[in-house]
Amino acid sequence: MAISLTPRTPVAGSRVLAYGAARGDLVVPNDDLVGPIDSSDEWIRQRTGIITRNRASEDVGVKDLALAAGKEAIERSGIDLDALDAIIVSTITFPYPTPSLATLLAGQLGRPDVIAYDISAACAGFAYGIGQADALIRSGAARNVLVIGAEKLSDIVSPTDRSISFLLGDGAGAAVVGPSEEPMIGPTVWGSDGDHWDTIRMTGSSLDFRDGKVDWPTLEQDGRTVFRWAVWHTAKKIREMLELSGIGVEDVDVFVPHQANMRIIDELAKQLKLPEDVVIGRDIAETGNTSAASIPLATHRLLEEGTAKSGDVLVQFGFGAGLAYAGQVLVLP
């Protein structure tokens, strides 16, 4: 007779318990960046909606931003630290390929024994992390999971790049996800488009840099292709997600897409035909594009300002390099 193994006991659902946020300590206005790209404050505002972006001082690392955001989320969640079972960090700027930032934070947060790993899904990373946390919790593999999106993108910008550098900021956003009798996080809609692997890319590899073939690699993108994909492909996926979650646009209270560009956010809202009273995350105006950190930073701001409140239905969707994308409908804590 075949042996029967005992699985963990699944739970019905998961929910976000609390958020945490940390932004770079420097406020960088457009005027500080326009010289080398022959641009202007007005041009950047009009094309991107960005007025300032937060960047971190030289002595502030991505690990410091991640730790601050993670600590706040844990404190606000009210969970006993012993009940934290996993830490998932999404980052593309931790300067060590190994060991992971998640394991470093596990030690610094006082839980060096938890499940801990980093994921690389760029701007879709936070929503990828929430998708994994939801799956870990519902399967019974973890009780509470800390998900962090953290980036110090100012380490990989070029002052002369006109494609993406001037959009980018530094920050970290975090959420603690825990079990729930009722599902408060809907099904994750996620995927990628490997045929467009190099649409958002680094200017070289670390090996190219080591061998003196390229300058320090920085980020660049094909803006037109990204804009087109980010709006029309993403709108289609968000409609699928709403249907899968069993809700319509009239049920949405808050919409927080990845903070890539205000024009993308506006066009997405238009394509989705969101009702006028839906609160839209527009943190990009002051924080800039912080990749994996942008969704939790924007959500944290709306909750702090009181424009979004506990119990609101949030639609979040991340999209970016690799042309990876992910999103969920969730109920705000």
């Binding site: 009009q46 094309r47 094909d222 803006g223 037109r224 292709t225 804009f227 087109r228 709006v231 029309w232 560009n261 024009r263 066009e267």
Partner: protein, 82 residues
């Protein structure tokens, strides 16, 4: 059924008007999208995608940079229909 040049121009003018507020009668064949109509690359992509939908054609990203004038776009759409 394929659209005529005039139909494409009229349809394109509506799309441009919707995106930028430029009056439909100002969208003429000889007008340059960037120099005359002050349309930036992001608005251009919005116009392109809406035109694809309206005229049931495919306008590849790499083709968009060749569409300097309204006439270029009308000609491309006209050809792409067949």
């Amino acid at each position: 059924m394929a659209h005529t040049e005039n139909e494409i121009l009229a349809g394109l003018a509506e799309i441009v008007n919707e995106e930028t507020g430029v009056a439909t009668e100002d969208v003429k064949l000889e007008k340059s999208f960037t120099d005359d109509l002050d349309i930036d690359s992001i608005s251009m992509m919005t116009i392109v995608v809406n035109a694809e939908e309206k005229f049931d054609v495919r306008i590849p990203d790499e083709e968009v940079k060749n569409l300097a004038t309204v006439g270029d776009a009308v000609k491309f759409i006209e050809g792409a229909q067949n």
